[in-house]
Amino acid sequence: MPIQVRIPAPLRKLTNEQEIVTTEGASIADVLANLNAAHPGLFERICDENGNVRRFVNIFVNDEDIRFQQEKATPVKEGDEISIVPAIAGG
């Protein structure tokens, strides 16, 4: 079973409007690289010029924020669900 990645609306132009794309990899870094190979331009939207996940982007692996794990080194496996979510305001 591949890894599913949920794409936020502002990035769907790069995925032919697909809300969910499938990919593979052993870590978030792998997943981002593979996503970029399939959908060029995605990486630079999600990561800054130093390759770090941008300040206003949240990435979750099965509902867990990667900032509470190992950031881009967070391991992933087949069947995992990854969400890329923009930061939003309070309430």
Binding site: R45, F56, F68, A87, A89, G90, G91
Partner: protein, 444 residues
């Protein structure tokens, strides 16, 4: 790219120069476009909230030169007493259609509380009496729903820690809009009832606010709804500026030397800072030094922690633990900008324990006659710490932003106010009861 237009054909929501020119020449509005706070790219005034290139938040931008030509103290003072007296600096195209009576809450000089805290000049910006739902959120919702109508939305929604849900529910009901409010299921009962009563769809989520927020972010574009703090966020957030405009006007057209603001996402603090700057920019106020300070509860204080460590990296809190649920946002979207506002103005941040929050609520009630929700207790408690540590000098003017009414969070304080003394309707019992009271001894 900062400050430049972007013309990528593949991104239809980006504004063309022609569109922007039309908007800027429209006499109805001085609100020109949306602009990425990170890279400065310009976008059309649609229901979008982040930059497609770097995920930076979009913010309303204005034609300040035109505003400076028509807005002054006399014009403002001649208008009805609501937040809409600053209409030129709020991001809608026409007249407000939702919440036209919101705002212009009292700025109260609190001399007894000032003496208690050991300072000379202290004011309370009292949004506990904001109309119609007794919190500052009516300001942001008034703008968001007025803009939602302009953009053609029939259904509005929000992620909320309570106050925003109350305000969306009430204002949507008055405007005839359908509303959905998504909240953590364990919110204070009074905040849940104060949403349900308006006939809104209340969805309780088994999780913390940050999880509610994430869910809303994922569903915002799915149903064609206007989510006030997601796809309408650039409009919504600007409503908070009215609190800053009012403070300056009510203080006699001057900025207080110190403003203490509670922080959840950090947005309110940044918008009060922006309000002061905008009034200076358009010539309503003269340049003067001022500091904005941030207040959080220790059980969820990611912004305060970053400030104390002198870093701009806001480390999220995975499991907020505090009675101050309205400020319990572990991943504050505007934390970075709140830190920047504090740094630019020489402000500081503090945080306080739940016990200190309760003392803050009681101090405000007993010395200023204002019953605030838990966030108000945070503001008072943190102000005390900033004063005692010398970060706020005792002889300089201070405004405390009190953002919500205490009736909304009675559970937090109920066991800490004592109990009524109950007797039979008997003069003898009454006299016996008060015999040792100081008030009786004084007047006997």
């Amino acid at each position: 790219m900062r400050g430049t237009f972007c013309f990528q054909q593949s991104v239809p929501s980006l504004a063309t120069l022609a569109e922007i020119t039309i908007n800027m020449s429209d006499n109805q509005t001085y609100f020109s476009n949306l602009k990425c706070r990170e890279c400065g790219r310009l976008y059309a005034k649609e229901a979008i909230h982040i930059c497609e290139f770097d995920f930076g938040p979009l913010e309303a931008d204005y034609d300040y030169a035109r505003i400076a030509g028509c807005l002054n103290r006399e014009v403002i003072a001649s208008r009805p007493q609501s937040m809409w007296r600053y209409r030129e600096l709020l991001p809608i195209d026409g007249e407000p259609t939702v919440g036209a009576q919101v705002g212009f809450t009292p700025l109260v000089r609190a001399d007894r509380l000032a003496r208690h805290l050991g300072v000379d000049e202290l004011y309370i910006k009292n949004d506990t009496v904001n109309y119609p739902t007794l919190s500052f959120k009516d300001r942001v919702v008034s703008v968001a729903l007025s803009r939602a109508r302009e953009l053609g939305f029939q259904v509005v929604a929000c992620a909320s820690t309570g106050n925003l849900a109350n305000s969306v529910a009430a204002n949507a009901a008055a405007a005839g809009l359908t509303s959905y409010v998504l909240i953590p299921a364990n919110l204070e009962k009074s905040k849940i009832v104060a949403s349900l009563v308006y006939g809104t769809q209340v969805i309780g989520i088994q999780g913390a606010y940050d999880q509610v927020n994430r869910l809303c972010s994922e569903i915002a574009g799915k149903y064609g709804w206007g989510f006030v703090n997601v796809n309408l966020r650039p409009y919504y957030a600007e409503g908070s500026k009215s609190m800053g405009f009012e403070i300056a006007e009510q203080l006699g057209w001057k900025i207080p030397r110190h403003t203490v603001v509670p922080m959840a996402s950090g947005s309110l603090l940044t918008k009060i800072h922006k309000a002061y700057k905008e009034f200076i920019k358009v010539g309503v106020l003269e340049e003067a030094p001022f500091s904005v300070h941030g207040a959080q509860a220790s059980g969820c204080s990611p912004i305060s922690e970053a400030k104390k460590k002198n870093t701009d990296i806001v480390k999220p809190v995975s499991n907020p633990q505090t009675i101050v649920k309205s400020l319990a946002i572990g991943t504050p979207a505007d934390g970075y900008y709140a830190l920047r506002s504090m740094a630019q103005t020489g402000g500081s941040a503090e945080d306080c324990t739940d016990e200190e929050v309760l003392r803050g609520i009681r101090d405000l009630a007993e010395y200023a006659g204002i019953f605030a929700e838990t966030a108000g207790g945070v503001t008072v408690a943190c102000a005390r710490k900033l004063i005692d540590s010398g970060k706020i000098p005792r002889h300089e003017s201070i405004v405390l932003c009190i953002t919500g009414h205490g009736l909304k969070t009675q559970e937090a304080i109920a066991d800490h106010c004592g109990e009524p003394r109950v007797i039979n309707p008997s003069l003898r019992e009454f006299e016996a009861l008060v015999a040792n009271d100081s008030a009786v001894q004084t007047t006997a």
